[in-house]
Symmetry: D2
Subunit: 347 residues, 4 copies
């Protein structure tokens, strides 16, 4: 059994991680920490765990966790992991970080977009960007995984085959993304109050969202050159789910079938990536509660554009599910172990 | 492996049953039928099953199902099972009926509340009311299970200890229940349209809902006498969940602790029934996607009433989950097999 | 033109009051205050007022408001008005208080349920309970109006004819009420976060909600004796609306028509109270955005109970609308002035 | 008083039209028709009108309506008006058509996108496209108004200043639009059922939605040349509202202030178009229930793109409100008459 520690168990992503790990056959949760709830039982914070997870929440103690655990999941926003993860810690345990600290290879870009100092620059070379379907071979055996962001997972994987195969004009890429409210986390904020987001839709952080450089860096690797995109996130009145509507101009006319063949080449054998049939498009409801990414697309012959649509559950494939997928890779398990979650509908 | 057939796989309850059975370690789904979708793949109707369940849907053929399956789940509304389930069928296979046909022992009462003729009266003696926590001992080894209704499961189990222990005035029982929209099924109806139920709440079938006699009959067994209750269902703008707020006047003053001891006696060892702590009350979000029934209560000293609140997921403990729990009992498996589903939150 | 001041303009009720007063032909808003937003424009807090209400928000100054305004609306929770409204203020202006401070005639009961000291006991005799349809004759010409609570308005008016006509056993009254989330106000609270209330239903403050003594006092006046009821509020995932499902046992059997005649007698001429036809029941969607209270009922012959259902928009008839109705009465206007708001559907 | 007839009063747009006209000081509704509800009272179909609009619904009779009414609102989908509106009718009355029949000047394009024959080609020259802020001068005194579509109103007005001033590369225009469910109408459809659209987001009719040629035609007039755009509608789990996120590449770098000046030039004096301040963006909640269009934008210096965001209430500015605005223009009233509706929030 893999001994796992969860730092930040009481955020929405942490909570989802607990749900998945409790149903994972090879994992034993050794410790759960939550700064704001130290000493409380987990089921007092999340009553869905009544009688099934009464773990008392601890303060984060990286040394102790490193001693006790084979893997530490850092289910915290950016700005923590870089401060507490050290080479010493990584000698004793593996770390999967949900935050952004180790996602961007260039710490200067990180500091620009996140407006904080990066205190873990020396670990950036060690860290692997945990986009499983792309990087599984280099994830194996590593110690520090930067678990990708929710918007980014959906956006990068939806566009990557087109970019990698040089089929689209890189300057024309636009991602118009829609996310459920859980993406904003559980912190108190007027903008996250029920009456403030219910029955409304809005764009936010237009041309300035922090997931932008992450998408650009990863698509840039696929392209072999720097990419600049427009990324616009929107808040949707629903609990979970991300839909990314991606636009790009094809370099030359292509039929649906030709594009489909490219996607099949990249994802045809991927369990967690499901390509929709012609004329069928992803909807977030079909992936809810699961680790699937659904991808569909349409070729707009009138404009020469391709419109690719990806859908994930932001808390699963966009956070906890992908983290567990990374763990499975790190520990040599079948990637699907504990992750063959059937999407829940209607939910 | 238990070979299972699912009749009516494309209703919301049937769909949920598929989800649960696919994750059940001892079950193989042999056949799925759906009158309106014969010849279609299941994942074309419910795209959450894309690539993971591409079963072609059949027309219902009870003879064939009885030959092929160890158990047939009839995930259909009332009025079908009584017409097609026969003693011959039951000699070959077990049947778990989601409809109401075999729930009420008195076919005349059935005909009065359901306004249809009962065509299966001879099987009423054979059928067992599948309220697992109450009837598990008589369920074992039987052939025909009447799976309880969603409102009824929640209402009966919430009130039963009080009734069985003669603690409340039976004439004072009121159940004010609230259900998500999936309880209305997937049939096209103006009242189930998004804009018609969103952002609103209503009572319906006031003093006339068909689950009333079912609650009365079962609580009557517990009381040892006939009971007449008031039952008022409400439609809540959410996909899933039932909350039953139950009122009754205590025969004599009791403290919270005294009542709690009674509930502990009945349910203290039940895995799927979770009693909340003092001052904590069930909410449907905490059981969503799971087979749990959460029960909490308050003694209102000012009025001498007890208010008991129960919460379930109507599609799981109120339908498919309880059906699988019944199947586990029928086949001698641990009741929890395939049902240790952690509630999904936020969902 | 009536000069109006609004204290607490940035709560949900205050905001709704602004909407109504802006469309009222006889009112000029002179001043708007909001402690947390002093110096900000109202449309920066509520962007629906962009370009149509750019009033700069003030700090509350009762002396100044009393000088400038013919009426001050105190759109604040309990505990403020009793501290700042004085006889001097009331010599200069009229006050309509949205809070609970002057609703209960017995300050001891107030202190018990609200757990705060009552600092305005001397004004309790001056204050009139502003339940317009009941008290309009004694409201006229007064200076201090205690605007009723949202749950209470709906509950009292729904039950009052039965109680006043001595038709029900007073000991059997139960109100099971359902409210949208705006009832909880705009204050930051985990329980009001989108993901925490969406897709779920719960009861809260069971047998202990502060609107209980208010309902009891007012129904007691109608009955001519003290009444003790059970009141259970529930939170519904919707922005607005209250549905009160009220239960009581009839003293003697009555037909639907007999009861209907009683309701007609009380409310047949009331513009803002609409009685539904037989078999039709109120739903909150039909009153949204309006000052209507819809009432319907069913006689449950099996149990001898009557079930009365009332529906209001909690922010209109349950707060700002009724306040304006009170203002209209106070100033001798037609009660409907500025309040003939057609309910908005779907909304 | 203007005598108005409403054809198709029981659709969501028709219902909203009734709400607005009932509060319009210069209009008397003479007749309401609804094919599916002939003989029923309007308040039986929409109970929000209980006691305030008990009009009996008629069958459509254009001759009779033309005799009785000064204006007929055809609140029906495409394909009806072209069949029943004739030059004779237009000699007697004015017609404002909510459908698409007279929106596109080229009937062949209409037939291609709508897949039906156009039976009213001779009236296409007579009809005026009722986009009030653009065409008010040519609307005056006309007889037949093609009321614009919901998506189109929002998209065209949001982009028009950029196009008219030749500031963007016309080949780069993309509109990613999000609509509430009422946009799909009240017709029974599985896709409009509560559980099917709640808690999910999807794109639909990708690169093939019928509002595309309408946007292209109107923006083409502004540009002075043909335009081809990509338009992607999305379904959002909310009752009302459209948000259009529009992308285009600037022909040369511009500052926020330079672009703002252009928008001010076009819309600075328009009552129903509100420009947001720098850093503030439209959200559908702020226009709900009103005739406003809110527009905001951001210049993405990294990519040279401008992102313009427009928000309307699809049933008001996108349908009934704009229709009344057209009526006001047709009859020489102040355009705002009856339309100074304050947005309702939270709603």
């Amino acid at each position: 059994m893999i001994k796992a520690g969860i730092v930040g168990a009481t955020g929405y992503a942490g909570n989802e991680l607990v749900r998945i790990l409790m149903q994972h056959p090879e994992v034993e949760i050794k410790s759960m920490t939550a700064h704001s709830y130290v000493g409380k039982q987990f089921d007092e914070v999340y009553e869905n765990y009544r009688e099934i997870n009464e773990t008392v929440l601890d303060e984060m103690n990286m040394e102790k966790l490193a001693e006790e655990c084979d893997v530490i999941f850092m289910a915290l926003p950016h700005g923590t992991a870089a401060n507490v993860v050290t080479e010493d810690i990584l000698k004793k345990t593996k770390v999967i970080d949900f935050g952004a600290d180790f996602r961007l290879k260039d710490a200067d870009i990180y500091e620009k977009w996140y407006s904080v100092e990066h205190n873990g620059r020396e670990l950036l070379k060690t860290a692997v960007y945990g986009l499983c379907e792309v990087n599984r071979d280099i994830i194996k055996g590593k110690q520090l995984i930067a678990n990708p962001g929710c918007y980014t997972t959906c956006s990068i994987l939806s566009l990557r085959p087109l970019v990698a195969e040089d089929l689209v004009d890189l300057k024309t890429i636009i991602v118009d993304a829609k996310s459920g409210v859980s993406g904003a986390g559980r912190g108190l904020a007027l903008a996250s109050m029920y009456d403030e987001c219910n029955e409304s839709v809005k764009a936010y952080k237009i041309a300035s969202h922090r997931h932008t450089p992450e998408i650009e860096e990863q698509l840039g690797y696929a392209a072999g050159e720097q990419i600049t995109i427009t990324f616009t996130p929107h808040l949707i009145p629903m609990n979970r789910g991300i839909l990314a509507t991606c636009y790009a101009t094809l370099k030359k006319p292509m039929t649906y079938e030709e594009v489909k063949a490219v996607y099949e080449k990249y994802y045809g054998k991927e369990y967690f990536i499901r390509l929709t049939k012609k004329g069928v498009f992803p909807e977030t409801r079909w992936v809810k509660g699961s680790n699937f990414l659904d991808i569909g697309f349409s070729v707009d012959e009138r404009t020469g554009r391709i419109i690719v649509i990806g859908a994930i559950d932001n808390l699963v494939k966009g956070a906890a599910g992908q983290a567990v997928q990374n763990m499975n890779i790190l520990f040599g398990l079948d990637e699907k172990t504990g992750l063959k979650l059937v999407p829940v509908f209607p939910a």
